[in-house]
Structure formats: structure tokens, C-alpha cells
Subunit: 165 residues, 2 copies
């Protein structure tokens, strides 16, 4: 059996997040359709467009490694998205729907922040500086999206939910 090195860990991680990003792309479409306010709809739409760019960056990294871009089932993102779908179903039509959907999206963001942070550090240690640079660009976008969602929750969705009670 081939020894499992940091390079194989990096490749596995890349496949994990590649699968995750494509699931996230679909989930963001659902969130955008389900959200009540225009602000939330638009935030999910913007992040969807960003996600397309993030997938393209991952494909560039696979290419740098001479690997075919291929996902690997990621039970973590499946579970995180499942919880978002539950909220969509249970809170539909109620005042707290957008607050719940924003929370679901932030759980997705933090999954990505954890994974991209790790992958970037592994790429650096492996001397793959171009890959590290691409991963860092995505990481910065994820942090910015998370902050934007916090602001949207604070300024709008949470107050709306509580005012309706």
C-alpha cells in the first residue's frame, strides 16, 4: 500500500472541498429561492456567483497537480446542507425564516473557512505557492461573505424575526 503522505492528504482535502462547493452551489440556489427578504436573496445570489469562481480555482489546482478534478463525498457538507433544508421547511412562512437561513449559510461559510485555511497551509508547506495563493483568495472571500451575513442578520433578519413576535 502506498504510504499516505501530506500530499495525499492535500489531494483528498481538495476533492472533499470540490464536492462540497458543487453541493453549495445547488444549496445557494435553494436558499435564494426560499429567502423572504430581497437583501437575503441578493446575498445568496452574490455568493453563488463567487462559488462558481471558487470552483474554477480548485480546477486550476487539480490541473497544477496533473490530476483530474474529481470530488469525494463529503458527509460534513451533506449534513450542514441538510440542516439548512430542515430550517427552510420548518420555518417557511414564519418571521424567523431568514434568520435561520442566514445561520445555515454561515455554517457553510465556516466549513469552507476551516477547509481552505488548512489547504492553504498544506500547499505552502508542500511548496505549492501558486496553489496557496489561489486558496488564499478564496479564503478571503469566505471571510468577507461570513462578515456580510453577520451584518445582514444583525441589521435586518434577526430584528425582523423578533419584531414579528
Amino acid at each position: 500500500m502506498k504510504q499516505k503522505t501530506l500530499e495525499s492528504l492535500f489531494h483528498d482535502g481538495l476533492r472533499d472541498i470540490y464536492y462540497a462547493e458543487r453541493k453549495i452551489l445547488k444549496a445557494l440556489t435553494q436558499l435564494g429561492r426560499g429567502a423572504e427578504s430581497e437583501e437575503a436573496k441578493s446575498a445568496f445570489q452574490t455568493h453563488k456567483e463567487e462559488t462558481e469562481g471558487q470552483i474554477a480555482r480548485l480546477e486550476q489546482i487539480f490541473e497544477m497537480m496533473d490530476k483530474r478534478p474529481r470530488g469525494k463525498t463529503c458527509p460534513a457538507i451533506d449534513g450542514i446542507i441538510e440542516e439548512g433544508e430542515e430550517i427552510l421547511e420548518e420555518f417557511k412562512g414564519g418571521p424567523a425564516l431568514d434568520a435561520g437561513l442566514i445561520a445555515a449559510a454561515q455554517a457553510v461559510e465556516h466549513y469552507e473557512i476551516a477547509r481552505y485555511g488548512t489547504l492553504k497551509r498544506w500547499a505552502t508547506v508542500l511548496g505549492m505557492n501558486d496553489a496557496a495563493q489561489l486558496l488564499d483568495e478564496t479564503l478571503k472571500e469566505e471571510y468577507a461573505t461570513d462578515e456580510k451575513l453577520t451584518k445582514l442578520a444583525d441589521d435586518d433578519a434577526n430584528r425582523h424575526a423578533v419584531a414579528a413576535e
Copy 2:
């Protein structure tokens, strides 16, 4: 049907993270046993002790709400932990094991950061200031643990993994 308000969203979220924390407690025992280096073992052990305190804080909040502490299955944490177990199995005996386990633990941390951040903001909007204070204490611990794990990866596990290749 009772309308689903921000308070019910908060209560559901509390039950979700209560379930998650108890699963994390078991997972940290596994990670601590599986890790190769003393530094990683000790980091997982410390976080295990912290997790016990975090569970106690959640129980205090249930009590403030006159609710019995009860978990709610959280597919997200189940998936995140499943990925950690895969790494433990696949990378056992190899040089990249600890790097992989630290990454798994950081995915757990970020799930907690997302959830505690949201719950803290909901508690504030709901006027539950004592609960918000407790959630903030846990949130700060999660951020500190995540930073500690990044440092452990950078200083030790990732270099060890790559030096062995």
C-alpha cells in the same frame, strides 16, 4: 400549528449544539488516543476538558429558559466527525496523521464558532443577556482553540508530515 419564532429557532439551535458538544466530547477522546505526537494528544485533552464546561453552560441556558436539556440530532456534526474518523483510519501509521487530525478538529471548531456566534446574536436580540454572556464565553474559547490548533499545525504537524516524505 404554533408559529415558528426566533425563540423557537434559538431553542432548536441550542438543542443542535447540545447534541453536537456531546458527540465532540467522544470524538476528542478518540482523537487524543489516535494522535501521534504528545503535543496533539495534549491539545485534544485540553479541549475535551473545555468542552465539559461548555456543555455545563448550555445546561444553564436551558435552565434559564425552563426547558429540559435535550439534544436534537445534528447531521452536520455527525458528518464532520465521520470525516475525522476516516482520516484516523486511512492515515494511521503515516507521517501525515496528526496534520489530518488537527484539520478535522479545526472543522469541528469552525462549526462551533458558526453556531455559537449565531446563538449569541439571537440571545441578544431576544433580550436574554445572561445567556448571551455565557455563549460569548464559549465562543471566545472556540476561537482560542482554533488558533492554538493552527499554531500546532504550522509549528509541528505539517512540517513533520512533509519532512517524512
